[in-house]
Symmetry: C2
Subunit: 206 residues, 2 copies
């Protein structure tokens, strides 16, 4: 199989960090999103939504959507579990992964795509007012996340999971989206520092 990768873009990074955490090696096909290669005829055939990453299996079957790709690998290589263990923990990972994605990742992505000058050709029509009202939404979610992290090390509970990967990537995405980290969120700060020290994250930065 091979993974069409978008480099530093947030969704491709979620998959490559997931693979690094699991210790899974996959053939990577770099796609230059700056040159809009993901909108080429070849890749549009593979994913009509023109987004990355795209996983192509050896028989030509295509899988897209970050979390669907991660779940596929999770079924093939269950250890270490990054989607939880047992019915309740698996549901809690899913709950937090979705809370983070819908209430944090998405507002940050809207702020970036609708206010950043470099996105003007990408997000049509760009609507800066929509980007603006998403900034405080992301910050409000961080306050809720801070409360949740008061009594546990990771977002979904006792174990590191895919919800932590989504949130870690999103905190980094706040910078180009020009969203400030609210002050005083000591539990979020402690969590972020601890995740940043993980080997997969340090290797990515190097």
């Amino acid at each position: 199989m091979k993974l069409y990768d978008g480099g530093r873009a947030p969704n491709p990074r979620r998959v490559t960090l997931y693979l690094a955490e699991k210790g899974i090696a996959v053939e990577m096909v770099p796609v230059d999103m700056g040159q809009k290669e993901h909108k080429s005829d070849l890749l549009s055939t593979k994913n009509p939504l023109q987004r990355l990453p795209i996983l192509e299996l050896d028989d030509g079957t295509i899988l897209t959507e970050t979390i669907a790709i991660c779940r596929y690998f999770e079924e093939l290589y269950p250890e270490p579990p990054l989607f939880g263990t047992g019915a309740l923990e698996r549901a809690q990972v899913e709950m937090w992964q979705r809370r983070v994605e819908l209430n944090f990742f998405l507002p940050v992505a809207f702020a970036f795509r609708h206010t950043h000058p470099a996105m003007k050709d990408w997000e049509v029509p760009q609507m800066p007012e929509w980007g603006e009202i998403n900034r405080p939404k992301a910050q409000e979610f961080l306050v809720l996340l801070n409360d949740a992290l008061a009594d546990r090390p990771y977002i979904a509970g006792a174990h590191f999971s895919v919800a932590d990967i989504t949130a870690y990537i999103t905190v980094g995405f706040m910078k180009p989206a020009k969203i400030a980290m609210p002050e005083g969120l000591t539990h979020v700060q402690r969590w972020y520092a601890s995740v940043s020290e993980r080997p997969a994250m340090k290797a990515e930065k190097a």
Copy 2:
């Protein structure tokens, strides 16, 4: 366990249709969203995001997020499978469930919440221009979905799945969002007619 239910709102309906398809009976606690009961102190403690549905287990553990609740039941009652069988099919269901949610359900929800007069107190600030640009996004996705349905009965493949539930609910949600079904999407029409005839959907309408 008990399920705090929001009646006809789209996310609560996704869970109740899922339960009906599975034949699972759960104690329901009706919550009057018209009276904003989901924002009461009691329910805000259970879900600080102030959304429904909320599943409360017998030991007080809370699960929120539509798909996390469905996944929890899927683990407890695997038959009939609504999240696929085997690594590849499960990933394909997840892929389509997410495609439908992010590129269809979400644009329709934005159109409804940002343009409908009744939503003015709910979506603050309401931004009608944002609602407007989401209408064609939903229609574009239906064209892509029509292509996908050309060679199979259900959205993720040969079997009915949670992706069909999300899409079925979203088609119904187009009406209050004032989004017209594009003409000529014969595969979508055939799929929608077939899903509408399922016992769970007919029982809901009755």
